[in-house]
């Protein structure tokens, strides 16, 4: 009986944890037929988007492991990646070498920004998420200052195709035509009409292995410890602050590299908006994959990308098919992204509180049991 109850409890917990993915499976299942999109188109799109987004989403895993929640500050890495790409494309370094160079150049920016972000987050303990969220806005201001005013005036930018006609500042879009999908197509492979970005997947695979390896290092172990109980970790001699900063730096660096991969697939940089929504979409995708604020795995990333982007592709079409207005679907998917994050945050906070109130119930039950026993004894006497 006991084992049965336990099983039921486990099943319940599983259902609760996977409620978001299940909801998305349902949304997708309903929307796909309505949208009228052909399966081959859909699969092609999903595969492309996986190659584009997975690396970025993977960058979120390490701060979650270190107990710092969803790193809304990954936008910082995205900005570092964009700055590196703008510079590289002004230097006219193209193709794969251009990408590699952009990745290398994004790293120092990412480290600097990540360090800043980590420092601030250490000062705002207990409200990391809202702080990292505001940091992303703040740094966005700095980014605009650099890109809109300093580039071309202080930082040399030669090409008129990148620079605004007024002589400084970067245009709204910077073309990456000579880098476009160079990584994806490095090893061309098409299976049943589906184009597979083999090399991108290989890079993603390597990152997954690195993350798995990282979890088994001393630093990874320390991060898990810090994530679960900072005080205990500190008493054990772990440098908590440093560990937290490192986790944010790693995340930012990965996000910077991920952004380069993302943009090579897109083929152009929307200078002032590419990064601004990227954090939100990545976090939403991760949560859709069944992750929570304090727990996320590589599996969540892949499941999340597939489900979230399926919804993303079919929603506008399905919305148009139902209401005759394509904007409805556009708004719907934005709404869903935000709603998913909201729901995940609410669930996380309520569960945190529920855990606290469990103790009292246990005590009441214990006493009831004791009293019952006492009464029985009395009765027997």
């Amino acid at each position: 009986m006991n084992t049965n109850a336990k099983k039921r409890e486990k099943a319940g917990a599983f259902l609760r944890q996977s409620s978001v993915p299940i909801m998305f499976v349902i949304i997708c299942a309903v929307c796909i037929p309505i949208s009228g999109l052909s399966p081959s188109y859909l699969i092609n799109e999903i595969v492309t988007r996986m190659g584009r987004n997975v690396f970025l989403i993977l960058s979120l895993l390490i701060p979650i492991m270190a107990g710092m929640g969803l790193n809304f500050g990954m936008t910082l890495g995205a900005m570092a990646g964009e700055i590196a790409l703008i510079l590289v494309s002004d230097w006219q370094i193209v193709g794969i070498p251009g990408m590699v160079l952009a990745m290398i150049f994004s790293v120092p920016f990412s480290i600097l920004l990540g360090w800043f972000c980590g420092k601030i987050l250490n000062m705002a303990r207990g409200r990391e998420m809202i702080t990292s969220y505001i940091i992303s806005y703040f740094i966005n201001g700095v980014y605009q200052l650099v890109v809109l005013y300093l580039m071309g005036s202080v930082i040399p930018i030669r090409h008129g195709s990148i620079k605004l006609p007024r002589g400084y500042g970067i245009r709204n879009t910077v073309s990456l035509l000579n880098m476009r999908q160079k990584l994806d197509n490095l090893i061309p492979l098409t299976i049943a009409g589906v184009k597979i970005p083999v090399m991108t997947f290989i890079v993603i695979g390597v990152l997954c292995l690195v993350i798995i390896w990282f979890r088994r290092t001393k630093l990874g172990q320390d991060m898990r410890a810090v994530g679960q109980d900072m005080q205990v970790a500190r008493d054990a001699g772990i440098n908590v602050e440093r560990t937290r900063i490192i986790s944010i730096i790693i995340s930012t660096v990965l996000a910077g590299i991920g952004m380069v991969i993302y943009l090579q697939n897109m083929g152009n940089i929307a200078t002032y908006s590419s990064h601004s929504q990227i954090g939100m979409f990545c976090i939403a995708a991760l949560l859709v994959g069944g992750a929570s604020v304090d727990k996320a795995s590589i599996g969540n990333v892949f499941l999340g990308v597939i489900l979230f982007h399926t919804m993303f592709i079919v929603a506008p079409k399905a919305g148009a098919a139902i209401t005759g207005d394509s904007m409805i679907g556009e708004y719907f998917r934005v709404f869903v992204s935000y709603a998913v994050i909201t729901v995940a945050l609410v669930m996380y906070e309520t569960q945190k509180r529920k855990r606290k109130s469990l103790e009292g119930q246990k005590l009441a039950q214990a006493q009831k049991g004791e009293q019952n026993k006492g009464q029985k004894e009395e009765n027997e006497a």
């Binding site: 601030i120 705002a124 809202i130 702080t131 703040f138 809109l148 904007m327 709404f335 909201t342 509180r353």
Partner: protein
């Protein structure tokens, strides 16, 4: 050990806050520079005043939730949506002129109450994580309403897309409705200087009401809840009810706030417009000297003037001075920097 005897100046900086000091100095510098770069000072000042009058109520909406310890109301868009519903319905029902403003307030009130209660109920379940969740509640509701604006059966030709005949436009002109309805009331005009008496009076009335509320028994309880919820509970206060009340008040004020903003601005902005309305209001009250759990009416007034002052002055002065319009960037850095500063201040951990 630190010596307790700090110099008078250091003490002043401590109490005033360095960022606030820098911002004030910056604004003063802009004002001083104004005549030298060929901008007209009276016009500038009346600009600041009128922008203050548009935004004052939105900033005031921050006060109740800060007092009850719910933190900064990043969920302001929820209240704004109530206001938008009031505005659009008032026009839809065919009210015009000043009456449309009154009706907009009346119609938005029940929405604010209902949405505010739901929002407050949610915030009571997630104590400690209010600010992040408030942000996303705001975002979700705005994007939900984006769909609603398209779908809801509005008919008024002044509001819907001309071609399709349905779905609200992104901006709706208030000409003939309540455009400038408060601002023109008893407005004083001296040369280039205009004083929107009506709007200022309206704001003053609400601010006074808020001040008075904080002096009543319930208002006192609200402050105590924010100051130390455990103390309040031990003193028999129903903490959740007070918090709920504060959230409803904040939501309602946000609804009124957006209507006041619209009457000054002259347009109703729908769809994604309410999205980032919370951040300027949040940073304004922080610039005014509030912290995550303390705020006064004075903070609201000073903060709004400083924030709007910088927002209005930088474009003109900067443009005239170095021919670079960096105002947008400065606004982003200043406002978000201020929020960051407030978030990283050590406050008594309230659980």
């Amino acid at each position: 050990m630190n010596t307790n005897e700090k110099s008078g100046f250091a003490k002043f900086i401590d109490s005033f806050g360095l960022p606030r000091l820098i911002i004030t100095a910056f604004l003063l510098l802009l004002l001083v520079a104004c005549p030298f770069v060929g901008a007209d000072l009276p016009t500038q000042i009346s600009n600041i005043i009128s922008r203050f009058s548009w935004n004052g109520v939105l900033v005031l909406a921050m006060v109740p939730m800060v007092h009850s310890g719910c933190g900064l109301n990043f969920g302001l868009p929820l209240g704004i949506i109530s206001g938008l519903l009031g505005a659009t319905l008032s026009i839809e029902f065919g009210f015009t002129g000043p009456i449309s403003f009154v009706m907009a307030i009346l119609i938005s009130t029940p929405f604010a109450l209902v949405l505010g209660s739901g929002y407050g109920w949610l915030l009571n379940r997630i104590k400690g994580g209010e600010m992040m969740i408030a942000t996303y509640v705001g975002f979700s509701s705005v994007s939900l309403m984006c769909m609603m604006w398209l779908v809801l059966p509005y008919k008024s030709p002044n509001m819907v897309w001309g071609l399709a005949g349905k779905g609200l436009r992104t901006t709706i002109s208030l000409e003939g409705y309540y455009n400038q309805v408060l601002a023109k009331f008893l407005a004083i005009k001296i040369g280039n200087f205009t004083f929107p008496t009506g709007t200022i009076l309206f704001f003053a009335a609400l601010a006074l009401a808020m001040w008075a509320f904080l002096h009543t028994k319930t208002g006192t309880a609200m402050t105590a809840v924010g100051s130390n919820p455990v103390f309040a509970r031990a003193a028999g206060i129903n903490v959740n009810r007070i918090r709920l009340l504060s959230v409803i008040m904040s939501t309602w004020l946000a609804a009124i706030g957006i209507l006041v903003y619209q009457q000054g601005f002259g347009f109703v902005q729908l769809y994604m417009a309410p999205f980032y309305m919370a951040l300027p209001a949040v940073s304004a009250i922080l610039i005014g000297g509030a912290s995550v759990n303390k705020a006064t009416i004075t903070n609201v007034i000073i903060g709004t003037i400083l924030f709007q002052g910088i927002v209005t002055m930088t474009p003109t002065v900067m443009n005239n001075m170095i021919h670079m319009d960096m105002s947008e960037v400065i606004r982003i850095i200043v406002s978000n920097g201020m929020i960051l500063y407030a978030l990283t201040r050590k406050t008594e951990a309230a659980t």
